[in-house]
C-alpha cells in the first residue's frame, strides 16, 4: 500500500513529466490511466493561461501555437513553486533566451523580461507612502546617511534591445510603429513602476538610471551622490519622492557608515 507521500509524488510525476507508471499501479482496478489526462490537461491549461496573461506581447510575437508549445516545455522544467500564480513565470525570459526554436527572434527574451517587470509591478504589494515630513525633519548633517526602501512595484531592467518600443507597438496593434523599430540600436535602461494611473515604463539615461538604482538598492545618499558626477541629484530625488518611488527611509548607523568605501561603480 503506498503512503500518502508516495501517492502524491507519483501524481507529480504524472502531471509534470507525463510519467504515469507509478500512479497507474495505485489506481483502483477499474480506473483506466487515460483519466489521468484530465488532471494533466487542467494543470497545463491553467498554467499556460497564467503565462498568456503575464506575457501577452511575447505571445503575439510568436503566435498562439508556438507559445503553447514553448509553455509546455517551460512548465515541465519550471513548475510553480507555490500556490500563488502571480509569481509564476519569472524564469520564462531566460528560458526563451535558451530555447533553440526561438533563436531567430534575438530580442524575445528581452520582451519577456519587460513583460515580467510589468506583471510584477501590477501585483506588487500595497504599501504606505513615505513620510515626507519626517524626511524633511532629518538634520542636514545626517542627510548623507539616509537610505531608502524602494516601492515594491519599482524595477530597473537593463536590456540589450529597445523592446519597450516593440512592446508599445504590439499592445497598440500598430504594425507601422513596429516596422520602424531599429532593433539593433543598442541597450536601454528602463524604469518600471505602478502609479495611480497604471503601470509606467520609462527610458532613463545612464546617469539617471545609475542614481536611482543605487538608491533602490539601499545605498546611503552620500554614496549615491558621490558617484553621480554632474548629474542634478536634487531634482531627480525630488521627482522620485513626489512620484512615490520609495516607501520608507532609514538612517544608516554612523559607525557603519563609510561613504567613499561603500561606493561600487
Amino acid at each position: 500500500m503506498p503512503t500518502l507521500l508516495e501517492l502524491q509524488t507519483a501524481m507529480q510525476a504524472s502531471l509534470v513529466h507525463r510519467d504515469n507508471e507509478a500512479v497507474s499501479a495505485m489506481l483502483a482496478g477499474h480506473i483506466t490511466a487515460d483519466r489521468l489526462d484530465i488532471y494533466r490537461n487542467t494543470f497545463l491549461f491553467g498554467l499556460t493561461k497564467a503565462l498568456r496573461l503575464s506575457f501577452p506581447v511575447t505571445e503575439r510575437l510568436v503566435g498562439e501555437e508556438f507559445f503553447e508549445g514553448a509553455a509546455q516545455f517551460f512548465i515541465a522544467e519550471h513548475p510553480p513553486r507555490a500556490a500563488w500564480l502571480d509569481q509564476f513565470g519569472g524564469e520564462f525570459p531566460d528560458f526563451l533566451r535558451a530555447f533553440p526554436q526561438a533563436k531567430s527572434i534575438v530580442y524575445l527574451g528581452d520582451v519577456a523580461e519587460l513583460e515580467w517587470a510589468v506583471n510584477s509591478a501590477l501585483h506588487a504589494a500595497d504599501v504606505a507612502q513615505l513620510d515626507v515630513a519626517a524626511l524633511g525633519a532629518v538634520r542636514p548633517e545626517d542627510q548623507g546617511r539616509i537610505w531608502f526602501v524602494a516601492h515594491p512595484s519599482v524595477s530597473l531592467p537593463r536590456l540589450a534591445y529597445p523592446v519597450d518600443a516593440v512592446w508599445r507597438a504590439v499592445l497598440a496593434s500598430d504594425d507601422e510603429a513596429l516596422g520602424k523599430v531599429d532593433i539593433e540600436s543598442g541597450p536601454i535602461n528602463l524604469l518600471v513602476e505602478r502609479r495611480e494611473t497604471g503601470i509606467e515604463v520609462e527610458r532613463l539615461d545612464e546617469q539617471s538610471w545609475l542614481f536611482l538604482s543605487k538608491l533602490c538598492a539601499g545605498q546611503p545618499m552620500e554614496a549615491a551622490l558621490h558617484t553621480a558626477g554632474d548629474f542634478d541629484c536634487s531634482l531627480a530625488l525630488a521627482k522620485h519622492l513626489a512620484l512615490g518611488r520609495f516607501c520608507r527611509f532609514e538612517l544608516a548607523a554612523p559607525e557603519s557608515f563609510d561613504p567613499i568605501g561603500s561606493t561600487a561603480a
Binding site: 502524491q8 502531471l15 489521468l36 513553486r81 502571480d86
Partner: protein, 292 residues
C-alpha cells in the same frame, strides 16, 4: 489607515450569492446588484494593486466569502506557512463572513500542481487533513468550511466512504462543511454512488454553505462517460433537484452560484441566484406551514 470594523455587513445570511469575477468588478460597482453576498478566490487577492482595491470597495456594501484553492490541506509534507499567512492577511483586510478550502491537495516536492487533486480515502489522509484544518483554524482564529471534492479517479487503497470522510473531518476539528451539490452529482455518476444518500449522510448542522455549478459530460475511449466539474454552464435540472433535497434536510444555507469558465454576463449569474433564492424561500415557507 485601517478600515473600521464593520462586522455587521460581513455576516453572510442564508441566501443566494454569486462568485465575483475580475471581469465583473466594474459592473458590480456601477450597478450595485441586489445579491446578498459574493465569493472570491483568496489567491486572486494576495497581491496588491487594482484587484484588492476593487474588492475593498465592493465589500463595504456586500458581504464577502473567501474561498481558497491553494492551501493543500491534504499535503503529506505539511501546509505552506507562508501561504497560510497570506490567507490570513487577505482575511484581515477584507473581513469575510465565511472562509473555505478543499478536501484535496496540490502541493508536493516543492511544486504547486495547479489543480485540485484527489486524496485516497484512508486513515492516513484523514489524519493529515484534520491536522491541517486544526492548524489553519488556529492560525486564522476562526472556523473554516471544507468543500467535498469532484474526482475522476479512485485509488486502490481507499477504504472510507467519502461522505464518512467529510463527516469525520467536521466532527474531529469542529470545522464546517461546504456542501458542493454539483460535486456530489458528478462523483455519484463517476463512482456509482447514490447522490441523495450522500447528502443524507452529511451532518446537516455542520453544513455552513452550499455550492451550485454546471458540469459537462465527457466520453471516454472505453465508451463510458465521465462528468467533469468545469463550472462552465448553468446548473443542471438534476443538480437543482438535489439542491431542493439538501435545503429540505439542512434548512436555509448560504448558497453560491459558481461559474468560473466561459463566464456569462452578470445578469445570468443573478438569474441563477434568483432560482436558488426561490428554492430557499419555498423551503422556509413549507417549514413555517408545518410548524403552524
Amino acid at each position: 489607515m485601517r478600515p473600521p470594523n464593520i462586522s455587521g455587513t460581513s455576516l453572510i445570511l442564508a441566501k443566494a450569492g454569486i462568485g465575483l469575477r475580475f471581469q465583473h468588478h466594474q459592473a458590480v460597482l456601477d450597478t450595485r446588484p441586489d445579491v446578498a453576498w459574493m465569493e472570491v478566490h483568496t489567491e486572486n487577492y494576495m497581491g496588491g494593486g487594482t484587484p484588492l482595491r476593487y474588492l475593498d470597495a465592493i465589500r463595504r456594501e456586500t458581504p464577502i466569502s473567501l474561498h481558497g484553492v491553494g492551501l493543500s490541506l491534504g499535503s503529506a509534507e505539511g501546509i505552506d506557512p507562508a501561504h497560510l499567512e497570506r490567507i490570513r492577511k487577505v482575511a484581515e483586510r477584507i473581513e469575510p463572513g465565511l472562509m473555505s478550502e478543499h478536501i484535496a491537495w496540490n502541493v508536493v516536492g516543492g511544486t504547486y500542481l495547479a489543480d485540485l487533486l484527489p486524496l485516497p480515502m484512508t486513515e492516513e489522509a484523514l489524519e493529515v487533513v484534520c491536522r491541517h484544518v486544526d492548524q489553519t483554524q488556529t492560525h486564522l482564529g476562526r472556523r473554516i468550511l471544507v468543500e467535498n471534492p469532484s474526482t475522476y479517479i479512485a485509488f486502490g487503497n481507499s477504504i472510507i466512504p467519502e461522505w464518512e470522510f467529510m463527516t469525520a473531518v467536521a466532527a474531529r476539528t469542529g470545522c464546517g462543511i461546504l456542501c458542493d451539490v454539483n460535486n456530489i452529482c458528478v462523483n455519484a455518476h463517476n463512482h456509482g454512488w447514490d447522490a441523495s444518500a450522500y447528502i443524507a449522510a452529511l451532518p446537516s448542522e455542520a453544513v455552513g454553505e452550499i455550492h451550485l455549478a454546471g458540469h459537462s459530460i465527457k466520453a471516454l475511449t472505453d465508451g463510458s462517460t465521465l462528468r467533469i466539474d468545469d463550472h462552465g454552464s448553468r446548473v443542471s435540472e438534476e443538480v437543482w433537484s438535489l439542491y431542493r433535497n439538501a435545503i429540505a434536510r439542512c434548512g436555509a444555507v448560504p448558497t453560491l452560484i459558481e461559474w468560473d469558465n466561459d463566464v456569462p454576463p452578470l445578469d445570468v449569474l443573478l438569474q441563477e441566484a434568483d432560482h436558488a433564492a426561490g428554492i430557499i424561500a419555498s423551503a422556509d415557507g413549507a417549514r413555517h406551514a408545518d410548524a403552524a
